[in-house]
């Protein structure tokens, strides 16, 4: 284990030469292939083998998980951590902005998410406008650069929002009442989305026309690239996933109709607290639903919610996940998932799926993460008890086969860090004392 730790900061080249890793004697909740008592063999950041009897290769690092529970790293389909801005709320269509531009790999929320067993999150733009900014799927690679947080191969996404937030007219009085932001109603939100996609279609057509005329050898000035419309064209072409913040059944149906009309798909409905009322329609569109377990009534549109939402939608054939939307809630998504067993009677595996394989499918990263299967990324969380018990704690978290959280190490480092802190405080105080007399000699200034 020590060896694995030492290897963590080294480059990919070294990684290839890293010794294999075996997690032994644990209860392994694969989520997709049942539960077994045994081992997981990891090589080069990937799960190579899962089974009851795995021979430990020579030179392998062994993690003894006796009495512990090994599950796939938790995936949060709705988060706002690790970003230095969330809302471009000045306009109703802000598809030109993206979270990737403002990722902050030093946000302590990343480490705290790890401590809650989370390995992957969909970091979304906020819900201030009908069409928001581009999202980033990240892995909690604490200590790495912003670029290295990005989930390689994940499909790009974009945030939409319906209802109360996007119809707020803006907070500024700087320019007088006449310049308040459009829209002010749910009808207006629909209009903004329609208008944006109408514009995007025209933009798409202008490039097609240009390409055609140029191919014919005509003299044409190319259209100017438009960073606002490009992501919307990608949505139309099925290259960008739409994650739509919503609450009420009427607005959910509205969005599904608009999407059908323009010929694109809503990948996930986020929050979707009234999803249980229109689960059949959601399933028919093929949208996923990412919801809270029992968090509601924080505003009018969030009143008609029930804790059975996730279970009912699941039973109606909707692909459901439980998300956090909060750096605090993010640290106990396992408990959130467990609530669906009480409210709606989901099975253990179904409950675990809500925070692992289901969000992975929603984000279209399920070929890489979301379950413990050979060939997938070694993103693994080890609990000291069953993860669906709220008495269980995260012991260790691996991403790509590297240890990113180790509870024991964290605890042992605390006094060391505190000492270093005290050292620096006294050093700064001494420096100040030394330089103080000189400056007090200087007159005037």
């Amino acid at each position: 284990m020590k060896r694995a730790l030492a290897l963590a900061p080294l480059t990919a080249l070294w990684l290839a030469a890293a010794p294999p890793l075996v997690i032994q004697n644990g209860t392994i909740l694969t989520v997709t292939k049942g539960t077994l008592h045994g081992s997981v063999l990891i090589r080069d950041g990937k799960i190579v083998q899962v089974g009851e009897n795995i021979k430990v290769p020579s030179g392998a690092t062994v993690i003894n998980a006796a009495g512990q529970f090994v599950m796939p790293g938790i995936i949060d389909c709705h988060s706002h951590i690790a970003a230095e801005s969330i809302n471009e709320g000045s306009v109703s269509v802000s598809s030109m902005v993206g979270i990737q531009d403002v990722l902050n790999p030093e946000d302590i929320a990343i480490y705290r998410a790890l401590a809650g067993g989370v390995t992957t999150a969909n970091v979304l733009h906020g819900s201030a406008n009908a069409i928001g900014g581009k999202c980033s799927v990240i892995k909690m690679r604490w200590g790495k650069s912003a670029d290295e947080l990005l989930f390689a191969g994940s499909k790009p996404g974009i945030k939409f929002a319906l209802g109360e937030n996007p119809k707020r007219r803006g907070g500024g009085t700087a320019f007088g009442a006449t310049t308040l932001r459009y829209p002010a109603t749910r009808m207006g939100v629909e209009d903004v989305i329609r208008e944006a996609f109408t514009e995007a279609r025209a933009y798409q057509a202008s490039w097609k026309l240009y390409d055609a005329r140029k191919a014919k050898g005509e003299l044409v000035i190319p259209p100017a690239r438009d960073l606002k419309l490009e992501p919307l064209v990608e949505v139309l072409e099925g290259q960008r996933l739409v994650h739509a913040h919503c609450y009420r059944q009427d607005e959910i149906l509205m969005l599904l109709r608009v999407a059908d009309e323009f010929g694109f798909k809503i990948r996930t409905l986020q929050h979707v607290l009234e999803g249980y009322k229109v689960a059949k329609e959601i399933a028919a569109h093929g949208a996923g639903a990412s919801t809270f377990s029992d968090w509601w009534a924080y505003k009018v549109e969030a009143y008609d919610a029930i804790p059975y939402n996730a279970a009912i939608m699941t039973r109606k054939g909707v692909l459901v996940s439980i998300n956090s939307d909060s750096d605090e809630l993010m640290r106990h998504l396992n408990n959130e998932a467990a609530k669906t067993m009480k409210y709606g009677g989901l099975t253990e595996t179904e409950a675990l799926s809500l925070i692992t394989i289901n969000p992975a499918k929603q984000l279209m990263i399920n070929s890489q993460v979301g379950s413990i299967e050979a060939g997938k990324d070694a993103d693994i969380t080890i609990f000291d008890g069953h993860p669906l018990s709220n008495f269980s704690k995260v012991i260790m978290v691996l991403i790509d086969g590297q240890i990113y959280f180790d509870r024991e190490k964290d605890l042992s480092q605390r006094p060391v860090r505190e000492n270093r802190r005290k050292e620096l405080i006294s050093k700064a105080a001494e420096e100040q004392k030394r330089s103080a007399p000189a400056s007090s000699r200087r007159p005037g200034l």
């Binding site: 230095e84 471009e88 030109m96 531009d101 902050n104 620096l424 007159p443």
Partner: protein, 456 residues
């Protein structure tokens, strides 16, 4: 104490009186000469003629027509360059030093002080990049500097002969100027009116686009794309005006196209990485400014080849910080390590220069530099960071930054090591004009202080 405070401006005015309509030829004889471009020379002479350095060396006979300055015990340095300033722009505050704050508890190496310059409110709300909000890329500091501005003299008295001044009040703030700190007509002072485009990442909140950091970044990206398109469209149109739609003239794009380099704020390590990547995307030559945490990301800076302008205003504990707050280790470490940045950059062969970031007095500027020396910067590299490095960053090393034949005669003559506490600046030469700064501290010349008090 209060009275002495009032005295300072009077003393500074006094130094202006000392500006003589002097001779055109000077020879500083038998001095220690820190050329910067080569090893220091002992008992050497520097000959200045018509604003240029005519000769420098150990065996030089002063020309017959030269005004001789006995240099025994004196040290001659190249004139100092403030690599990023607002010197010469009346009423301008220093460029903002505050890092863009981390939203979710990201570390802030500099005290989160309010921006020293007010954000210029847009005249009307912008609905997107097409409205060109906060964009005065076409402004040129060369057209804004005022020769008689008090800041010019203040800096010169501290040994600064050259400043690189930028407009700083917008996202695309405008183009900087490299200019010498002496002259009556600004046109004569200007060395290069196209020093680069100064970028800030300030946003307007929810009232007007861009309202967030990512909005600002997206906006800058769109402007650069538009500039590329503008060039292409104009080129096609200029060739075939007959029968093609005329591209619209856009001064905000002209300003970007005319800028040979782009200055990007990068205080924290995260920001350094972010801005380097952004510059690659913009296909523009970046100069990073800030750099307090650059020591953590030397590899990526080195790989990029981007130079860094390092602020001399080291991060400090906020004066009004609640004593009950336990500052996290990260914040303490950033503060502790910031002055080690220049030393680390020098060791890694990364080109960097100092900027004074609105530090009030020349003495404090040198003291801040001494802090970097204490933290591992070689004194010779410190001098370089005030002189030749800045010239190299702005592509002017062929005429500025060292004491070499043919270069502009910008010199500082001191009675000792530039960074030593007791050292006095005896003369400053700007474009070959000799200035004698007023004594720095009235303590050193009690008589002068008394005289001043009498004049009150």
């Amino acid at each position: 104490m209060k009275r002495e405070f009032v005295l300072l401006p009077v003393m500074l005015c006094a130094s202006a009186v000392l500006l003589a309509e002097g001779p055109a030829v000077y020879a500083i004889h038998d001095a220690r000469v820190i050329r910067v471009s080569g090893p220091p020379l002992e008992h050497a002479s520097v000959v200045v003629r018509n604003g240029l350095i005519e000769a420098v060396g150990e065996n030089i006979t002063p020309p017959a027509d030269a005004w001789i300055i006995e240099g025994r015990g004196l040290t001659v340095y190249p004139g100092l360059i403030d690599a990023l300033s607002t010197i010469g722009i009346p009423g301008a505050a220093a460029p903002p030093t505050a890092a863009t704050p981390g939203r979710t508890g990201g570390p802030r190496p500099v005290a989160a002080a309010p921006l020293p310059t007010p954000i210029v409110p847009p005249a009307s709300p912008a609905a997107g990049p097409e409205d060109r909000p906060s964009n005065t890329s076409f402004l040129r500091a060369a057209d804004q500097i005022v020769a008689a501005d008090h800041s010019v003299e203040l800096a010169r008295d501290g040994g600064f002969t050259t400043a690189v001044t930028f407009p700083i009040n917008n996202i695309f703030a405008g183009q900087g100027v490299v200019f010498d700190l002496s002259g009556t007509r600004t046109g004569e002072m200007v060395i290069d009116p196209s020093a680069g485009q100064y970028i800030t990442l300030r946003s307007n909140g929810f009232t007007s686009f861009p309202g967030s950091l990512m909005g600002v970044i997206a906006y800058i990206r769109q402007i650069y794309l538009d500039s590329d398109h503008y060039k292409v469209a104009k080129a096609i149109y200029d060739k075939h005006p007959n029968g093609l739609e005329r591209p619209a003239y856009d001064r905000t794009l002209e300003g970007v196209i005319q800028s040979p380099r782009v200055l990007l704020p990068a205080h924290r390590a995260v920001e350094v990485d972010r801005m380097l990547q952004f510059a690659r995307e913009l296909k523009s030559k970046p100069v990073l400014y800030g750099g307090e945490e650059a020591w953590r990301v030397v590899d990526s800076i080195k790989k990029s080849g981007a130079p860094v302008l390092v602020t001399l205003k080291w991060p400090e504990k906020a004066k009004d910080l609640d004593p009950a707050i336990n500052e996290p280790l990260r914040v303490l470490e950033i503060r502790d390590k910031a002055p080690s940045t220049p030393g680390v950059l020098a060791k890694n062969g990364i080109l960097f220069a100092f900027y004074t970031d609105g530090i009030a007095t020349p003495k404090e500027i040198l003291k801040a530099a001494q802090k970097a020396i204490d933290a591992g910067l070689a004194p010779s590299d410190a001098i370089r960071a005030f002189t030749l490095n800045a010239a190299e960053i702005y592509g002017l090393a062929d005429r500025l930054g060292s004491i070499d034949k043919g270069k502009i005669a910008n010199l500082v003559v001191t009675d000792g090591d530039l960074f030593a506490d007791k050292t006095q600046i005896k003369y400053v030469f700007v474009d070959g004009n000799k200035f004698e700064p007023a004594p720095e501290s009235p303590d050193a010349k009690p008589d002068a202080k008394k005289d001043m008090e009498k004049t009150q």
